[in-house]
Every structure is written in C-alpha cells, then in structure tokens.
Amino acid sequence: MSAVGTPVTRVDGPAKVTGAAKYSAEIGLPGMTYLAVVGATIASGRVTAIDAEAARAAEGVLAVLTPEDLPKIAAEPHLLPSLVGGPAPGESFFPMQDDVVQYAGQPVALVVAEEYEQAQHAASLVRISYQPTKSITTIDEGRDQAYEAERLFGGLMPARSERGDVEAGLAAADVRVEVAYKMAANHHNPIEAPSTVATWDGGNLTLYESTQGIRATQQTVALLLGLPIARVRVITRFVGGGFGAKAMVWPNVTLTAMASRYVGRPVKLMLTRPQMFTSNGHREEQEQRIAIGATRDGQLTAIRHEKLSITSPFDDWAEPATGVSSQLYGCENYLGIHRLIKGNTMTPTFTRGPGESLGVFTLETAMDELASHLAIDPVELRLRNHTPVDPFGHPWSSDGLVECLRLGAERFGWSDRNPAPRTTRDGEWLIGTGVAAAAYPIAFFMPPQRARARIFADGSAIVQTSTQEFGTGVLTMATQVGADALGVALRDMEFQAGDSDLPNSTAAVGSAGAGMVSSAVHAAGTALREQLIALAVGDEQSALHGAAPASVKVADGHLTSAERPGAVDTYRELLSRNHMSDAEALGTWRPPPLDTPHGLLTFGAQFAEVAVDPELGLVRVRRLNGAFAPGRVLNPLLAHSQLMGGMLWGMSQALLEGNHMDPRYGRWAETNLAEYLVPVNADAPEVRVDFVDVDDELVGPLGAKGVGEIGQVGVAAAIANAVFHATGRRIRSLPMAPELVMDPAADGQ
C-alpha cells in the first residue's frame, strides 16, 4: 500500500505533545553562558560613546563587547534569498563594525554572562550616547524620494513587468476601476524566538539554530567569519515556526558565534519578543494602486499595478507583488512597477505569502469592484477571464483555477447569495460574503537537491537530507515518500534531517520545501531500490535471478516480479546472503530550468462570510472556505493543517495585523504580542479546506506544488469583499480596523 497520500499523523507528534522535542535554545551544553544584545534606541546617527563600566562590574558578567572588541567580518554580506542555495544574509549590512546607526534596534553592544538574568540586567546597565540624525521610517516622510527599483531580491528578479500598451488598454475599456490601498507593516512573530547556541571546538564552530535554512546558515556564517564551510556545522532539531522570519540569516547568529569565540565558552542567545520586531525583518509598510480596464462583458483590457514601499538604506528590497497580477488572468496590456523609498529600517524580508498575498489582495478587491460595476457575479467574472496559458503563451504546468472556483462556490453555497450590498442581517449584525481567486508563483531558483537512503540488514531504513522541521510536517511527509520509493513499510522507514552534515537541501521558503525534499528523498529511495533490485536479479541464489529489473516490484521489503509468479525475495535476505550490513544510495533531484516553457502558479479560491457590527465596526469572520489545487497531496491531514493555518493568517492580515513607525523616534509603535495583534482561538472561525486534483509532471517526480503560501493568499481579499457586501463600504487600509469599518465616509466607495 502506498504511504504517500494517506493521512498519517505526525512522526514528531509524541515528542511535541510530551515536551521532549528540543528546540534550539533548549540544547544544554556544559559551561553554557548567555548573550544579551543591546539595540540602538535611535534610528539614524552615530554612537558617540559606550559606557560599559557598570555592566562589566555587574555580577556574572564575562564580557561586554562593543565594536572595538569585536573582530571585523571577513566579507561584506550581500543579500540573496536563501532559496538560491548560497549564503543568505538578510541584509547587505553587518552591525557593530563601526559607530554608524542605520535603524533602531540595530545591535550596538553585546553582553555575555554566566546566567540569563545577569546578562539581561547587565545589558540594561550599558550606557550608550548617540548623535542622532534625521530619520525616515514612514512612506509619508520619504514619499518625495521614491524611485523605481530596477531589480529586486539582490538583483534576482526584475522589478518592472510590462507587455502591450497599458494606457491604450485602459483608454479602450468600457469600464475602469482604479483604487489605492495603504498596508501597514507586518511582523512574523513565530512563538519561538530566533535562538542560537554557538560552541567552538578549536577552529570548528557548531551552531544550534532556529532556522528555515540550515545550509544557508552554515554558508553565511562561514562567509562572514572567514571560515571554510566544512568547519561550520548547523544543527536544528525543531523550529518553533518561521513564516519567513527564519528564512534568511540575520546578524544575531554570527554575533553569537563571535561572542562564543571571545569568551571561549558556549553561548546562548534567545531574542526577546520586543527584539523580534527589529532583528529578523518584517513585511514592509506599503501602498498599492491598481487600475483595471474591462469591456462591458467583463473581459480585461488592461491592468496597471504599482507598489510603493520602504526598504533599508542598503538594499533594494520589496516583496514582489505583481507576479500573480501579471499572469492570473488573460489580459494583453499589463504594467507592474515597484517603487522604493530608502528608510531607516532593517531590510524587510519574506513574510508568509511573500509579496503576492498583498498583490492578490489589490487585484482581487479590484476585480470585486469591477464585478459590481458590471453587475456580473464575481465568480463568473473570474471564470470569464481565466487563461490556460501564461503571458508568454506557455501552458500552466498544471491548472485548476476554474475547478477551485466552482468547487469552492458549491461547497460554500455561493449561489444562495443576494448580490446587493447591505441587504442581509442577522439581528444587529450585517452579513456579507466574498470571494477571491488565489494564486502563488512556483520558483525554481534552487540548486540540485540531494538525499541519502540507507537500508540495514534487518530491513530498517533511513533517508537523510539537511532540511529542518518548522511545522510543515516535512519529517512525516518525507518518511512517507521515502518508504514508498524504497518499497518498505512506513514503520521501517525513518527520516532524518536537521544537520548540515547531511546531503544538500536548500532553505524551505516560498512553499518550496515539500517539493524539494520529497523530490530528493524520492530520488534517493528510488536509487537504492534500483541498486537492490540489480543485486537481486544478478544473485544466483535469489528467486528473482535473471528477471528483468524493470519487472521487479518492491513493497514492504518484499521483491516480486510479474515474470516469476510466486517468487519472492526480501531486502533482509538479500543483504544477509550477500554479507552486506547495509546498502546506501545518494539521490539527486534537479529542478526544471528557469526558462522552462510552462506557466508556474499554484491555484486556489477563497470564500468568506463575515458579520459586521455597524455601530462598532467589528468584523467577525464566520466561515472560511478554501479550495486548492496544490498538485499531489503528500499527506492530506498535514496539508489541511498548513492550508488552514495559512487561511487564518489571511484573516489576520485582513483584520488584525499591522505595525506603525513612530516617526518622531523612528521606532515601531508595537513591540509585543499584547499590542501587535495576532489571532487567538476566539478569533478563529471553522475553516473548510477542499482539494482539486491536478497532475503536475513538471514540478517534481511526485507532482507536489506546495501548500505553505497558497492558503494565505486571497483570504484578505475575500474578507474585504465580504465586508463590502455586508456594509456597502470599501475599506482602503489594511488591517481593516474597526474605526475604519464604522466610518460612514467609506460608504459607497
């Protein structure tokens, strides 16, 4: 029986429910010391003096490190997304090299002490004097300095995408919708803070690190410290959530290694919750505008989509927001632009549903306005604009959008809807429903992915690759894939990850994790199976001797061949007859080329029902339904959880999450979980997830397109459209806070 596709519970479940699972800060080492980071309290300027006397004198303090004490980095960091597979600093900047302050929270001093409390206390005693200069931390402050970016992501992607003549297309349209949104900054806030334990053994460094990219961490730290990569080992047993915060390698990791070398002892750093707002990137404050033109029957004639956002002083970073709006619908005239303002923040970073989730929000709320102007049902409008090919005329590697919209509409009961806004009530509450299409790009930037499969003489087997478990279920899914590929029972297969010494696996970002890991594991399991089949058919003592290798099937460790009815060999007997204590094989998966002639999107459709209190502006989400076509579903139980979590993230993006800079100080206004709202249990409605089956032979041998992001995409738009349906109001800011929803000025907008 195939293990792939069955809803097996998590292999790491028992460890997680008993508290036995060890996260990075929970590694105990003899002689452990504690690091506290002192962050700048100004956003721009210079450090003029550091008075560390009181801190150095405090009990238990081993060192107070300032830029004078810290070695210079061996190479300048250059931002490049970790998915590319090389070093992946989160920003082209490393703090504590001189006296310059580029953003609030930037590390300016380090304290190492025997105990955690001692380090924290001593950090509070370090007196820093500054010479502040004027900072820019909001779009409003820097609007006149905005410039059009040429490339994004450290040069990886063009920032402009253009085809046809967008102005002519808009002019030729019967109907035009033009809208603009303000979107507050978001912070990932995984519940586990970024944590590092660093320990040196001679010239060898070992890091226990909470990361989404073990190899990215290894390579980045080696680069910055000038060490051979082989001398840096990164171990990551469990990660308490990432959502993008741990996708790149931030300065605190290397600083911990430096501190450890300085004191000659293992050092542990766990960022505090407030530090998590200034240490691991964020989703940038942004504004988006979109103009859509269409014919009277709803055919799109032009889309112009612009994003303006704040980046750091040293990087042209914007989450790309136009990858979906440029491809999702058939439309000849398109222009997508990213504009940037250099401000005093750290370089922003990937946040779940990177870029495209807000791009889709803008597109899909505009599509809703278009539908209501044209009096066309919103589902129908999307169906009319569906395209079977991408803008280059390449067919999708797999599609499913139409099926997702239809299935979602049916399960949600969409046809029962009265399309007129502000017509449905439940007691005092106004009720509304909304829909949005969802799509997320698949990117094959990664290098070849490898895994090793090994079987022992007793028939037990192991597959290994250097990925890490941060909640995606990769440990479980890779076990299933490995068992099937090798042809052993699930109970005989173990999957091992979490160590940079294992075969190469690239950082799990942008939903690429499941596809990469499953493909590499499949390749390794298959290679080992083929090796063992070759051994069996060449073994005179095997019942399968002389059979054609292609005719041999393996299940539960038993080899059979259609050519030899009744004949059976087993892996165990095969290995012991041949005096082998084990056998192993390496498998490699090469991603398709970047110029593959295929459109690459994962599709879905989101439906939401909201209740709005017209007096207080409260929005309660009553129901969320999503239908998705993520290709092969490796484990429906776990995929459901990933998609459900993503959908609730989308709800949160619509209604709760936003941070603002206080321009007077250039600091975030909200730096804890009491002020920066994330959903609690009472915010979370029941969520329904449906799957549409699509075969995808391009994306990997198993055809899995990934479920990490697509669940989150489109939800905020479906909710905003439902709020309009409930109230007749278009809210032009995210999050849609009650004071905006209750504002009658938004009526009929």
């Binding site: 508290g19 105990e115 308490g240 959502f243 909640g471 409605p685």
Partner: protein, 164 residues
C-alpha cells in the same frame, strides 16, 4: 551607579511529584528555573511577558504562566509541567487527541495549549465551542491550529462524558 544583587540561594521545588533543590537568584522566574536549571524544557518561552501562554504550567492544580511566576514563589507548591502528564509511554488522553486531530504544527505552543486544554475541561469551561475558544484564548498558536485544538478538546470532553 551601584547595583544590589541578592545572592543565589537554595530553592526547593516540587515538580511532577519529585522534589528538586536548585540554587537560584531570587529574580529567576519559574520558567527559567525549569528550562535553564532543571532541563525541563517542555514548558516554552514565547514572550516572557505573559502574553502568549506557551509557558503554562499547573501550580496546585491551577493553570499559571510560569514566566510571570518567580521560582521562589512556587516553592512549597505542587508544580506540574507537560513532562508530568504521560504515564511512561502512556500518553494523557489530551496528548493523544492533539496528535490525532493534528492540533499543532511547529509544536512550540503545544505544551501550553495542552496544559490549558486539560484545565478548560476540568474548570467546566468546555461545554460549547464558544466557551472553548474563549477560555483557550490565553494560548496563542501562531501556526493557527485553533480549529484542530478545539476538535481535540471536544473529543476528550466527550470521551470523558463531559467530566475530567
């Protein structure tokens, strides 16, 4: 400036039925005592500010945030942590239900969720889904496993006939 540091002293702590003695400064929280001094790392630090619930333990049978409790203040009381729930290999029904309903993803909030979930039933606050979600709202799950957490709690509640 001068600072006054109170000396570390021996603090007896009864945890999961076992008596421990730890040498701690008076400012050490129960959470840090568990995690940094006793290698009982099942209780998680998510915020250290009383906002996330991942450090939830029981003191004298009540759910308490270990990050807001001084270790010294917990001395002389009965402390139960996630490590104290299973009986050898025999998981507590709530632990089993969390696995079965996939009520977690990264697992970092899970200890706190389970410690709260068991008490929500005992407290009689699990009669309806609304009650469950209200009384579980002190435990943040950023992976947003909430609907599955509710399903696990319902399952244990119904299996126990509505009583602990």
């Amino acid at each position: 400036m001068t600072t006054v540091e109170a000396a570390a002293t021996e603090v007896p702590l009864r945890i999961n039925g076992r008596q421990h003695v730890v040498v701690l400064e008076p400012r050490v929280s129960l959470l840090d005592a568990l995690r940094e001094h006793l290698d009982l790392t099942g209780s998680k630090k998510g915020c250290d500010q009383g906002t996330c619930g991942s450090c939830t333990v029981w003191i004298d049978g009540r759910r308490v945030l270990a990050c807001l409790t001084l270790a010294a203040a917990a001395s002389g009381h009965d402390i139960v942590t996630i490590e104290g729930l299973a009986d050898g290999d025999q998981l507590h029904p709530m632990q089993r239900a969390f696995i079965e309903y996939d009520a977690f993803q990264c697992g970092y909030c899970t200890s706190g969720q389970i410690m709260s979930a068991i008490k929500v039933i005992e407290e009689g606050n699990a009669a309806t889904d609304e009650d469950i979600s209200e009384f579980m709202s002190g435990n943040i799950c950023r992976c947003a496993a909430y609907p599955n957490i509710r399903a696990a709690i319902r399952h244990v509640r119904d299996e126990a006939g509505g009583r602990p």
